[in-house]
């Protein structure tokens, strides 16, 4: 049955995150594609971290799938914390040349744009969204339906989640964590405390993950030597 399902979805039904520990909690070898994945920030101040997690997913998707990466954002979100910055994106492993930034004036427009991108025969590598809320059971089901035919990876960052029930397959809650430093004391890889709060056909979990922007994969931060006091400068 599973094989049948996978065959119908094709080879890209899952977006590999690069670590088996995470995959063990997810229904397949990676983030499910063709369904909605929700991302929340643990606190308002962690929004940048959550946004980073979303872009890390987009970088991973772009490295494995052809096509443009479409990022749809509500205008208010962009003016609040700033717009994605090209050189910063490049340092996170995204090719900004393949990124299409869409600015919507309302959540309704944002949802329309996301749906349009998902249904487009342009086959985006991934569709990411950053919106205030505007997501409920009906709209999230619509997104699931739109994403399913092409198994497009879809992740949505909700800035102010109000309603609890959505049809999302996974829900991640992201918090910032002190970054790892390289031997010279420079910040090497961003780290996030990622909690998988909800996972259809899987288990919840909590990890301290690190994004490797060169290999386009996550890895667990515990497996890496923690920041050594030697490398720390007296701030």
């Amino acid at each position: 049955m599973a094989r049948l399902e996978r065959a119908s979805h094709g080879p890209s039904a899952h977006l590999s995150l690069g670590t088996d520990t995470l995959h063990a909690h997810l229904p397949g070898p990676g983030l499910p594609c063709g369904v909605l994945n929700e991302i929340l920030a643990a606190a308002y101040a962690d929004t940048a971290a959550a946004c980073g997690f979303l872009f890390a997913l987009m970088a991973a998707a772009s490295s494995m799938r052809p096509g443009p990466a479409v990022f749809v954002a509500h205008r208010r979100c962009l003016t609040d914390l700033g717009a994605p910055y090209g050189h910063g994106l490049a340092q996170l492993g995204i090719d900004p040349d393949r990124l299409l930034l869409v600015e919507a004036r309302s959540d309704k427009d944002a949802l329309w744009a996301i749906e349009e991108a998902l249904r487009s025969p342009a086959h985006p590598a991934m569709v990411g969204g950053w919106m205030e809320d505007g997501l409920d059971l009906t709209t999230s089901r619509r997104l699931n339906l739109a994403a399913a035919p092409q198994a497009t990876p879809l992740a949505l960052l909700r800035a102010r989640p109000a309603s609890g029930t959505t049809a999302a397959a996974t829900r991640w809650r992201i918090a910032s964590a002190p970054a790892a430093c390289d031997p010279f004391g420079a910040f090497a890889h961003p780290r996030w405390r990622a909690a998988l709060e909800r996972c259809r056909n899987g288990r919840t979990g909590q990890w301290l993950i690190e994004w490797d922007h060169v290999a386009h994969r996550f890895r667990l931060a515990e497996s890496v030597a923690d920041r050594t006091p030697v490398a720390r400068r007296a701030g």
Binding site: P11, S12, S16, A45, A48, A49, C51, F55, S62, S63, M64, R65, P66, G67, P68, T79, G82, A83, P84, Y85, G86, H87, G88, L89, A90, Q91, G93, D95, P96, D97, R98, L99, L100, L101, V102, E103, A104, R105, W112, A113, E116, A117, P121, A122, H123, P124, Q150, A177, P178, A179, G185, A186, F187, P190, W192, H213, V214, A215, R217, R233
Partner: protein, 550 residues
């Protein structure tokens, strides 16, 4: 009666029939006129308002033809030329068009004099001196029609007409019969040029009120249409007409304009009773269905403006910019995409997606980032409206980071499938290139590869740097704690400074910035900078937050 200041006092510039009957004429002194007629109603002439009204009328006349030109100074500046080549049959021939135009203009309270001829000059002459309200000169009969008209019908300047009157030449026919060479030697070239223009021997270019379209389709409806669907259906029919012509020329539309003409009530309002929609496309297209879909999206956005009392009675589609578009083998591409599951994006589909998004969300809502060669962070990236171009204009971009192979290869049997994905992944993606339009920046920067030689850059950059209160241990050192947006952050780790000097060639008042990447104790990373250096500037340095890291 209208007057304007002239030689020797106020002079009459325009007068109505009652005043004419009283023996007054244009150009008379106002004081003389007052002595002849006692109950004169006099107003000041307002040439600017006249010109504006004429311009509005010209826009209104676009319902008949896309080429409408205002008369220049020498032609009187009080009328319009309509190039009705190929348009007259839509209104039942030239006669039908003139009757329709006459009826409508009279409804506005105007007293039109209309004439149709092969040349603008002949039509002008017939209109002014033909003695009829509606005159049609059959093709090739200009000379015959003009011969009996006075010389003034040639639109001569004052000097030339005075000279002619002194020579006793009054009718055009008398001039036409004169030997040409001595005439040309003796008179200013204006006279013969006007004559030649009227007879179609030399062209008389018209300056249209709006740029004439490359392709043009026009429809007048028997019944006014009201609903969005009907407008869309009409537009689709017009598009199909245009598309077939573009196919012959192997061209595609880049910029289109849909013009809808309202059923106008008694007077011309400021909008000239029409709605004009401009549609830009991300890539040249001549697919009626696609363009109609975009029009539908735009109409949806304009729903409130489309509400009219009586609906629309005519519509036109102009293709303002067309670009060469050769036929591609679309079907083959789809077939190959269907066979292997690794679907690749066709630039065409991407362009359509961009088009659709742009037309619903507004121009400029769909953007792409381009790197610019600048050290100033906010200037190092420019967001421009996205546009798709074929591979040939792809800039060579030796990318620093994201070219590593997919990591799935090292991991057992289930990753077999992932290996089937096309190997050069970035190459399979169509390239998005941006409009090479010159920006407002007087010193445009050349592009450079992403992330080249850059220290850490934030994921999100604030539109405007926001001031922060910073406590540092040493004046030049990194911050110890800072308050931004009312929240106090204790700094755990700080890296820097990275000094970015202002671009001196830009006459800015910017100060040198020292950037620090700062991590607070909760692990949130910020990009702060200190504007100004201690001891160098008169003003105290100021700290700003410029962005946040992931």
């Amino acid at each position: 009666m209208l007057t304007a200041p002239g030689k020797g006092g106020a002079r009459i510039t325009a007068l109505n029939r009652a005043a004419q009957r009283a023996g007054l004429g244009s150009g008379d002194l106002l004081s003389n006129a007052r002595s002849k007629v006692l109950d004169l109603q006099v107003r000041d002439a307002d040439p600017a308002a006249d010109a504006a009204a004429l311009h509005r009328l010209a826009l209104w006349c676009l319902r008949y033809t896309p080429v409408v030109a205002l008369w220049d100074e020498l032609s009187g500046g009080d009328g319009l030329f309509l190039d009705i080549t190929g348009c007259a049959h839509l209104f039942g021939g030239e006669e039908g068009l003139l009757t329709d135009l006459d009826r409508r203009l009279r409804a506005f309270g105007l007293a039109p004099r209309l004439a149709v001829a092969d040349t603008a000059g002949a039509a002008w002459g017939m209109g002014h001196h033909g003695g009829r309200n509606i005159a049609i000169v059959a093709p090739g009969e200009e000379e015959q029609a003009l011969c009996s008209l006075p010389l003034a019908a040639l639109r001569l300047d004052a000097e030339a007409s005075l000279l002619m009157r002194r020579l006793g030449l009054r009718r055009i026919g008398e001039v036409v019969r004169q030997p040409r060479a001595p005439f040309a030697a003796r008179f200013p070239d204006g006279l013969l040029r006007r004559l030649d223009q009227a007879l179609g021997r030399v062209p008389e270019p018209l300056v249209p009120v709006i740029e004439p379209p490359v392709y043009h389709a026009h429809a007048a409806f028997a019944e006014p249409i009201l609903s969005q669907e009907h407008v869309l259906a009409a537009a689709t029919r017009l598009l199909e007409d245009i598309v077939s012509r573009m196919e012959c020329d192997a061209a595609g539309a880049r910029l289109l304009r849909l013009v809808l003409f309202k059923v106008t009530s008694a007077s011309l309002r400021h909008d000239a009773g029409m709605i004009s929609l401009d549609l830009g496309l991300a890539t040249p297209s001549r697919e009626a269905a696609h363009i109609a879909q975009l029009i539908g999206l735009r109409l949806h956005r304009l729903a409130s403006e489309l509400e009219t009392d009586f609906g629309f009675e005519a519509a036109a589609i102009h293709v303002l910019v067309a670009e060469p578009l050769t036929e591609r083998q679309d079907r083959l591409a789809i077939a190959s995409a269907g066979r292997s599951h690794a679907t690749s994006t066709s630039p065409k589909e991407l362009a359509r997606l961009i088009d659709r998004l742009q037309h619903r969300l507004g121009r400029g809502a769909v953007r792409q980032l381009r790197p610019q060669q600048s050290h100033i962070p906010e200037r190092a990236v420019r967001a421009r409206p996205a546009k798709v171009e074929s591979e040939r204009r792809r800039p060579p971009s030796p990318r620093a980071s994201p070219t590593s192979p997919p990591i799935a290869s090292a991991r057992g049997g289930r990753d077999e499938r992932q290996r089937q994905t096309p190997a050069p992944v970035p190459a399979a993606a169509p390239h998005l290139v941006l409009e090479a339009r010159i920006a407002h920046d007087p010193l445009p920067m050349p592009e450079e590869p992403w992330g080249e030689g850059k220290a850490a850059r934030p994921l999100l950059l604030l539109e405007h740097p926001e001031p922060a209160e910073v406590l540092a241990v040493v004046p030049d050192g990194p911050p110890r704690q800072f308050r931004w947006r009312g929240v106090l952050h204790q700094v755990g780790e700080a890296q820097g400074p990275e000094r970015i000097a202002p671009e001196w060639w830009r006459r800015t008042t910017d100060r040198a910035r020292d950037y620090f990447m700062v991590e607070d104790t909760d692990g949130r990373r910020f990009w702060l900078y200190r504007a100004g250096l201690y001891g160098e500037d008169a003003a105290a340095p100021q700290w700003y937050v410029h962005g946040v890291f992931a």
